[in-house]
Amino acid sequence: MSSTDSHRPEETASEAGYREGFDEAMRGRRAECDGGKGIEGTHFAGRQEFAGVLTGHYRDFGDYPWRWYLMTDLTRKPSGYAHDGVWCAAESLVFEGEE
């Protein structure tokens, strides 16, 4: 099962904690993701870098909103990363030619 498979459009914002949508303008854009997250069960965090193509699917968390895009076709991912896709915070993305 990949993170692409975790996309479940039938979920409502109140159950899943986010609202889903699709942004056609983002579909197919190549990007790098300066990613990472807290390490389960510890007060540590870990960085992870990805590169791939955005599908255009997004999730908005909270009222800010805090937007996340789905990246697939990963051409760079951490060693051992077994999934086909990854959700990336919008602000962690660097688009091709942007740097």
Partner: protein, 365 residues
């Protein structure tokens, strides 16, 4: 106050010295704040009510002085799975290797098995719930230890809260400065825990250059453990320093005594940048777990969070039974200069005196 150690960061925070202590210990935070520095308490793994209680505890002891709370905002998240699903993914070869280490080093079982079922909650929802506490309590500074805090800047600023972002690459700094982040922490490879792959001496001036003209102070992080480091950071253009390992063995630190002794004994070479603890590359002090996983013929460490599931019993057992020979902790390369168990106030004072000595030396040359 004026002088070489008085920087725009001091004015921005109303502090005496441009020294920030990052700590998970409330007592260390209070001691540093009351000695004229600034402290940021790491609360990434705590529930919202715990964070609120810690904030109140600090407030009651610092007489209105400012402080910060650090959270780990995730910036990439794979799908969530249950702990049972994760455990089922650990190969038998890796389980056997873990058992070999356990028997070879007589690693005790933890007094209580790590509660794996509370894991996996460090996702967006949990982070947002933690952030809400920081907002509700109007904590003066919110520091994001990983992901970009750009999405919450507007609300934070409406509430009068400064937002700091920790970066490991110049491009992250540029984005955060453009978004309106108030202070950037430029963290080098020398640092403890998760770091980028750029050394402190290389990343700090690049981030300072990126911030030039923006009015955004830059704080140098990674390996800062002496006054000479503080002086060097200011010479590189930083407005202050972010220190973590420096406080681990302080009198006030709540780490257990054998671990403090281990840290005092540790040399720079004893810190290892490896993914064998958690599956993420991070800098921690070397222990038998590292030696075995980094030896020829050892299995490749698993992806997160499987490797952490594998190492959890070892780590908890070493702490529960105070086995100094087994212990590990996140520590930066500056640990060489952590050589005795001093009160936090004295650590801060030594840092200040050491930096002033450097500036005096240059002034009299």
């Amino acid at each position: 106050m004026s002088g070489p150690l008085h920087t725009p960061l001091c004015d921005k925070l109303g502090i005496e010295y441009p020294i920030v202590a990052f700590t998970h210990c409330k007592d260390v935070a209070v001691a540093v704040i009351n000695a004229g520095g600034f402290a940021v308490l790491g609360e990434a793994m705590h529930a919202p009510d715990h964070i609120a209680a810690d904030i109140k505890w600090i407030r009651d002891r610092v007489n209105g002085k400012p402080f910060g709370i650090d959270l780990v905002l995730p910036s990439s998240v794979p799908e969530e799975r249950t702990v049972e699903q994760l455990l089922a993914e650990i190969p038998q070869t890796h389980r056997d290797f873990e058992q070999m280490i356990k028997h070879k080093y007589n690693v005790p079982d933890p007094k209580e098995a790590p509660n794996l079922h509370i894991w996996g909650g460090l996702d967006q929802k949990r982070a947002l719930a933690q952030v809400e506490v920081v907002f509700d309590e109007r904590v003066p500074v919110f520091a994001s230890g990983l992901g970009s805090p750009a999405f919450l800047l507007k609300r934070a600023h409406q509430l009068g809260i400064q937002v700091w972002g920790l970066v490991g690459k110049p491009r992250q700094a540029k984005k955060q400065i453009a978004a309106g982040t108030d202070v950037i922490i430029a963290q080098g490879y020398d640092a403890a825990g998760h770091t980028g792959n750029i050394g402190t001496f290389s990343i700090v001036p690049q981030v300072v250059d990126a911030a030039r003209g923006s009015g955004v102070p830059v704080i140098a992080a990674g390996g800062v453990t002496t006054g000479r480091h503080l002086a060097a950071a200011l010479a590189l253009g930083a407005d202050g320093v972010w220190t973590g390992s420096l406080w681990l063995a302080s009198r006030e630190s709540d780490l257990n005594l054998p671990l403090k002794e281990r840290l005092i004994e540790a040399e720079t070479d004893d810190t290892v940048y490896s993914d064998c603890i958690s599956g993420y590359t991070m800098r921690t002090t070397r222990c038998p777990w590292h030696n075995e996983w980094l030896s020829p013929g050892a299995p490749e460490p698993l992806k997160p969070p499987l490797q952490m599931l594998l190492s959890a019993n070892y780590i908890q057992g070493s702490l529960d039974y105070q086995r100094k020979d087994l212990m590990t902790e996140a520590a930066g390369q500056g640990i060489h200069y952590v050589t005795e168990m001093k009160p936090a106030r004295q650590i801060l004072s030594d840092l200040v005196d050491g930096a002033l000595d450097v500036f005096d030396r240059f002034a009299s040359a």
